[in-house]
């Protein structure tokens, strides 16, 4: 092999450099060298880079936005962010392109005689405030409602809560996180008494096994999946995909195990059975740190209006729990779960092996589940029984889908039952909120009212006469939109929609308020790993666009609550955050001061003595542990986590002779949620212009459906026409159809069922029965 000396030298130099880079990478995981992304940026471009979190999913990647002449022209990953270490996904790289969309809402629009009239923002806000006041006078406080979002910034969520609960005095505040994270919250509260994951993303660098429960991370949490793939090639870590559908994640994982929808409950119990039966229980951990409980069963599915349920937990002992599990031997469960005995034992052996570190990941597969709370409990059971929790590389990790589902919806608490600290049912929590808000304590009602689904049922029934939605698109994202769209169109309810782009929800609005997008305002988001991230305004928004928090404050002032909202327009984000921080003071949930957040690429709470707490409940890392033991589950009064006895119960609607297919819905990598942003990004729209219906090839053959052919999916509630997709992006199991929900022109949620988990009230978008016809 002939090579000239000069070439040979440069080759050797490169090799020398490469070996040094490899050495550096082993010493400093996550190290980054001269950024290849910058190579594509011409030197002449004089860009000003500002940091912030990504606008899209709950992973919360750090981004740097390059601006030039007041326009955002480039996005790259923030190399200093411990979340993504400089890497983004295709949505992240192109996010700023949506703001230049031609149909941007730039001015307030007020509906007059069926026509939207461009109105000065001040007048529109007057109309909103007057209508709200008038409705309260005529129909009472509980006739007005606000529906916000896991994409609201922390200040936006905070002022919404303060306005509704503190100023007006109604609990009619819920958010779209009810549709995505409620089961995770209920799971955490029932098992540990404290919300949000105990671990952090750094677990990825320590774990030997990643077990994903009904979760297509390669498309939905791609940056974390890349971190897992990196560990797979570097250390031989294994990825086990446990799902109802073969996806991009399945093909990248080491083992893919498929199960029949809803039987995850049984399989999780079978894993616990095996762990106990084989003596893999971490006895000292369970004795010291766990209690056993059971709750009510046959809870129903919330299909009827005004459905109410309250769990009654009672303590049981280990023997009773063991007895209960006898119904869940791998042999029995294999029969209806379609998971082989071998695979169940394989999963159990991974969890049971004391020398292997295991992280479980899940997101909507487990949360959007009519037994979502139970399912969350069951995975915690596995980790508690084996003591594999709250340690680097060991633990259950609930992923989120929205950028501030944790930071805003869960921590600020924009749910009907929540307060910024604690719940409305608790007098102490109400007193604290009243004190910080400077309102009379009696004003905060002690009873929760409507959760998301019930809120829109109440709109349909006419009980709610005024609703204001912010940063969300419920008429694409709610289940059974075939009921709630006509419900919102009714004249009985005055609808105010704040958004950046027109959506099917703004189509039914009486007033449309033009909101600032992400980088056109300052704000704070909190991601899945408890990381709070701040960003400063980077560009000016068009027209009269205004931050959502400021519009809420303006309305509050117009309603006469000005003294409760003494914030300034320029500095309201900082002022609100400083007020909000008071709620979480202390070692259990301390939030970092704003100066720190401005400097760092996010900080994990509890932030104590200038340090992030990466693993909660573990005395080695968490200063809030006070029982003198290695672990302290301080969320519960006795410091012990709960192992729950939760049985398998079937789904509310299962395929039958008339409706023979399961319908599963979800997302694709190119689009985020209802697509109102990502579909306005040309790159992403071209890559994925419309929704589709995935079939198993054998089902397609039996029905005579060809790829791309239009088919009609029909349920008892509605129908939807989409092109068929066979053996493309994903592959559902036989007897299942999968449809992504981003496409407002092909509304699959007209077809879905509004059954929900009775404990968390989170709807199940993953299971209902449909039939299929050629369109």
């Amino acid at each position: 092999m002939y090579t000239s000396q000069t070439n040979r030298r440069s080759f050797i130099k490169k090799m020398a450099m490469l070996s040094a880079m490899t050495a550096a990478a082993t010493m400093f995981p996550g190290i980054l060298f001269a950024d290849q992304q910058e190579e594509g940026i011409p030197n002449s471009a004089n860009l000003d880079w500002k940091k912030g979190p990504c606008r899209f999913c709950g992973v919360g990647c750090g981004i740097l936005v390059g601006t030039e002449n007041g326009k955002a022209v480039a996005v790259k990953g923030d190399p200093n962010s411990p979340v993504n270490k400089g890497l983004l996904c295709v949505k992240g790289y192109h996010q700023t392109m949506c703001i230049q969309s031609k149909d941007r809402l730039t001015h307030a629009l007020v509906k007059k005689n069926g026509q939207y009239i461009k109105t000065p923002l001040n007048e529109a806000l007057d109309i909103v405030a007057n209508k709200m006041k008038e409705t309260i006078e005529k129909h009472g406080k509980d006739a007005v409602a606000m529906y916000t979002s896991g994409q609201s910034t922390i200040p936006e969520g905070y002022v919404a809560s303060k306005l509704m609960k503190g100023a007006i005095g109604t609990n009619n505040l819920d958010c779209n996180a009810r549709l995505c994270m409620a089961s995770a919250v209920a799971g955490f509260l029932t098992s540990f008494g404290a919300d949000e994951p105990m671990g952090c993303y750094e677990d990825i660098e320590h774990a030997d096994y990643f077990i994903t429960w009904g979760n297509n991370m390669a498309e939905m949490h791609p940056v974390l999946f890349s971190r897992m793939l990196e560990q797979k090639s570097r250390r031989g870590a294994k990825i086990i995909d446990f799902a109802t559908r073969t996806t991009r994640s399945s093909t990248a994982s080491d083992t893919s195990i498929l199960f029949e929808p809803q039987t995850d409950l049984a399989v999780a119990n079978a894993i616990c059975y095996e762990i106990i039966n084989n003596g893999w229980v971490n006895r000292s951990f369970v004795e010291k740190h766990c209690n056993f409980s059971k709750g009510l069963t046959n809870m129903g599915y919330g299909l009827e209006d005004n459905y109410k349920f309250k769990d009654k937990p009672s303590t049981i002992d280990f023997e009773a729990y063991k007895k209960f599990l006898e119904d869940y031997t791998p042999e029995k469960v294999a029969k209806y779960s379609k998971v082989s005995v071998k695979d169940i034992k394989y999963l159990a052996a991974i969890y049971g092996d004391p020398n292997k570190k295991v992280v479980s990941y899940w997101c909507m597969g487990m949360n959007q589940h009519t037994r979502g709370t139970w399912m969350n409990n069951l995975v915690y059971n596995i980790h508690l029984l084996t003591g594999k929790i709250s340690q680097p590389g060991n633990g259950p990790f609930s992923l989120t889908g929205q950028p501030s589902a944790c930071g805003t919806a869960r921590e600020v608490g924009t749910f009907t039952h929540k307060l910024p600290k604690g719940v409305v049912m608790n007098e102490k929590h109400r007193r604290l909120a009243a004190k910080i808000w400077k309102v009379p304590y009696e004003r905060i009602p002690a009873k929760p009212t409507y959760h998301a689904t019930e809120m829109f049922r109440a709109v349909d029934r006419g009980d709610i006469k005024f609703i204001w939605t912010q940063v969300t698109n419920p008429l694409v994202s709610l289940p059974k939109t075939s009921r709630y769209r006509p419900g919102m169109e009714k004249d009985s309810c005055f609808v105010v929609v704040s958004d950046v782009f027109p959506t099917p929800t703004s189509d039914v609005a009486d007033v449309i308020l033009p909101a600032s997008w992400h980088i056109e305002k300052s704000g704070l988001y909190g991601n899945s790993e408890r990381r709070t991230q701040h960003w400063d305004k980077m560009v000016e928004g068009p027209g009269e666009t205004t931050p959502d928090a400021w519009m809420t404050i303006e309305v509050a002032k117009r309603m006469g609550y000005g003294d409760l909202f003494p914030y300034s327009e320029e500095n309201h984000v900082e002022e609100i955050y400083n007020e909000y921080r008071q709620f979480h003071e202390g070692a259990k949930h301390g939030m970092a001061p704003l100066e720190v957040l401005k400097k760092e690429s996010g900080v994990i709470w509890p932030y104590v003595d200038g340090k992030s707490t990466q693993w909660r409940f573990n005395a080695k890392y968490d200063p809030a542990c006070s029982n003198g033991e290695d672990f302290h589950f301080y969320g519960k009064p006795d410091g012990k986590a709960v192992i729950w006895q939760r049985p398998y119960e079937p789904a509310p609607e299962v395929p039958d002779a008339t409706y023979p297919f399961w319908l599963n819905t979800g997302r694709v990598i190119e689009h985020w949620h209802t697509g109102s942003m990502t579909r306005r990004i040309p790159v992403l729209h071209k890559a994925m212009p419309s929704a589709y219906a995935e079939f198993h090839p054998e089902d397609a053959k039996a029905l005579g459906i060809r790829n791309g052919e239009n088919i009609k999916i029909i349920s008892r509630r509605g129908s939807c026409i989409l092109p068929a997709s066979i053996n493309e992006r994903g592959l559902p199991t036989k007897g299942q159809v999968f449809v992504p929900f981003f496409d407002e022109n092909m509304m699959i949620n007209d077809v879905t069922l509004d059954a929900f988990c009775p404990i968390s009230k989170e709807p199940d978008y993953k299971k209902c029965a449909v039939k299929v016809e050629k369109a």
Partner: protein
Amino acid sequence: MKKRLGIISLFTLLFIAFIAIWNYSYKKGLEEAYIPITNGTPVLEIPSEKGVFTRSEFALEYLNMPVDETHQRSLETYYNNRAYPGAPPSIPHPLLKGERGIGGNACLQCHQNGGFVEKFNAYAPVTPHPELINCRQCHVAQKVETLFTASNFAKANAPKVGVNNALLGSPPMMPHDIQMRENCLSCHAGPAAPKEIRVTHPERINCRQCHVPDTREYVDVEIFTRTNSRQND
């Protein structure tokens, strides 16, 4: 008499036993010879995209892919070897294993894992689909340079490099179809990759996390505009 009866009954017993055993073993023999008929043909149950993550057993480590500047291909030679962008490349060298070589006995020996081939003074390009072993079904040799008659076939323009990103510095979109080429790294990484399209970060693996296809240009996808119409109305 008693003795005789005893002997007869013994033989009868033996005979019955013989028949029973013979029958049993005959049936067993039949059973073994019987091949159960499975109903229906199994359908390929893997999404077409799986190739993104497959790699051959002895493929180069992602982190140690050498760059050998004197032997690298360029995009020009890459496209010269194809009748049109996306066509199966022709075989630009004499067949080492003769005309009858097939798959693992011939082409795949070099083209499965890649590596430097002394004889051709080049690195062997890695095939994105090693599972298809009848290589010459699609890939043909080029024995002569002349044509039977002149042709009016005009080669379509190959996609350009460096113009496929939407924002400054954002990851480029894929300007080509990926059918039969789902494994991006076979052309975009390693010493046989054309230098213009060699990726700097092959170890990322999940290529389509950041690079999405832009092939829908051909069906003329309009910019998304709201139509206010639902298809199912």
